[in-house]
């Protein structure tokens, strides 16, 4: 572990090809996703991504209020991303959204404006809440990943299930999924959200320095990491159903029931 206060100079982030937490350049941190964690919400999910702990919930569709925010053609999405004041190891943060959080809320909303079938609900609003309870780098990517799962559990139709991941550059190496320390000292950070079925990039931000080739490589790495992330989203969504199905597998299904729907 690095003691931040005592070392102002940049730590060595990659030693003998391994990152500080033992990962290779292309490795994701451990990720686990759970659905239906907020009983009151229409859809919800909880994600642990490395030391990030994030809860996402969806409410609606409901009548858009105040009325002037309504669009007669389609639903509007409202999104709040916020970080808890106890989320970081070092400081006590401010409560509620700041400028950074407001920007992330906006780009997150735009991701879902692409995949949610808004035209099905003219005049209504859909609320997405992403609360970062503990942060360790890459929270916007993890937040979108969780919010996509929450949206799927709400039953609001979507044309695809997007995932997020952050790609970074450490020295000359392009690495997947920066953690907090890497993020602080990396040469570049590129958070991305990709819609895998459409093969479209729905969120792309970058700061630092990267060549054209670096960025192309980063996109390839994000897509590759996405295969793992998408699988985890899919498993989390299916798990509760498969569990119950497994429990009653042996039981006879009467004609009556098959036709029930």
């Amino acid at each position: 572990m690095i003691t931040m206060a005592s070392s102002q100079e940049k730590p060595q982030l990659i030693v003998d090809g391994k990152r500080l937490d033992g990962r290779d350049a292309g490795d994701l941190r451990p990720i686990s996703i759970q659905t239906n964690v907020v009983k009151n919400a229409v859809g919800s999910a909880y994600i642990e991504w490395g030391n990030n702990k994030i809860i996402a919930a969806v409410y609606g569709p409901k009548e858009a209020l105040p009325k002037h925010t309504a669009n007669p053609e389609r639903a509007v999405i409202k999104c709040r991303y916020a970080m808890s004041p106890f989320s970081s190891l070092e400081d006590h943060g401010r409560t509620g959204p700041n400028r950074r959080a407001t920007e992330i809320s906006k780009v997150t909303r735009e991701v879902f404006e692409n995949v949610v079938m808004l035209e099905k609900f003219p005049g209504s609003e859909i609320d997405i809440y992403v609360e970062v309870l503990q942060a360790d780098g890459g929270t916007r990517a993890a937040g979108v990943t969780a919010a996509a799962v929450a949206m799927a559990t709400s039953g609001i139709p979507m044309t695809d299930l997007p995932f997020g991941v952050s790609i970074g550059k450490i020295g000359e190496t392009i690495v997947v999924d920066l953690n907090k320390i890497e993020d602080n000292y990396s040469d570049a950070d590129v958070p991305m959200v990709i819609s895998p079925r459409q093969d479209k990039i729905l969120l792309l931000q970058m700061d630092g320095n990267m060549t054209k080739d670096n960025i192309k490589e980063a996109i390839d790495l994000a897509k590759k990491a996405g295969e793992t992330i998408s699988k985890l989203q899919s498993d989390a969504l299916r798990a509760p159903y498969l569990e119950v199905m497994e429990k009653y597998k042996g039981e006879k299904s009467s004609y009556d029931e098959k036709q029930a729907d």
């Binding site: 009151n40 030391n51 808890s84």
Partner: protein
Amino acid sequence: MNNATTYDYITELLNKGTREDGRENLEYRALSIKPGTMPNAEGSAEVNLGFTRVLAGVKVVLGEPMQDRPNEGNLAMSAELLPLAAAHFEPGPPSPEAIELARVVDRGIRAANIVDLPKLFITEEKVWDVYVDLYVLNYDGNLFDACTMAATTALKSARMPKYENDAVIREGSLGKLPTKGLLSSCTFGSVAGHIILDTNANEESFADARLTIANDETVVRAMQKGLGGGFTPKEVSDMLDITFEKSKEIRNAINKSIGE
């Protein structure tokens, strides 16, 4: 969603001596207390009380002493009714309800000297500030008791950073935040003429008076009457007796969760 139908149903049940979830008037819902769920924070605790779910996070950071208390550290408590926790919680600055919640929990914790503030003194210019943030993750009534439990547990299980050579050390071998005693609270609602403990959201929405009593083993440390209705002195006296009896269960649960 409140409506006359639910009110009639709840009243009917209370008149029969039971409640929506089959509880008795003075019975708590299933309780679980998990300390240390957010390891970045010096202390944390998640409390599930029925479907009410709250999280307390404790951060201990360098600060300056207050002028009127130059020889001790500081404690600050705040509460967020997260908009994801219920359909009627709105984003925005803290509501009067959130502020009342934080202040009532704060008064109990402070009066019971749970945090040993004089031990947070470092130098004349530097003391430790202890921030407790209460996060409501799902609302189903009785936030006062759930938050008091979460705050107490998070503080009792918090670690203490070190200050060495002008640097704060937050990892490695650390001691515990200096604390004393143990606090819990019991909150009663007056619903359709019945006094009941640990109201769920439905019951709470029809309560006309509410009383929170925070206590430790020996004495009452904070009280708050809420809502438009009132209680008779006899009712208050009965609730005090019940609180001293019932709160033992809660303090046992807190102790058990932190391995004491």
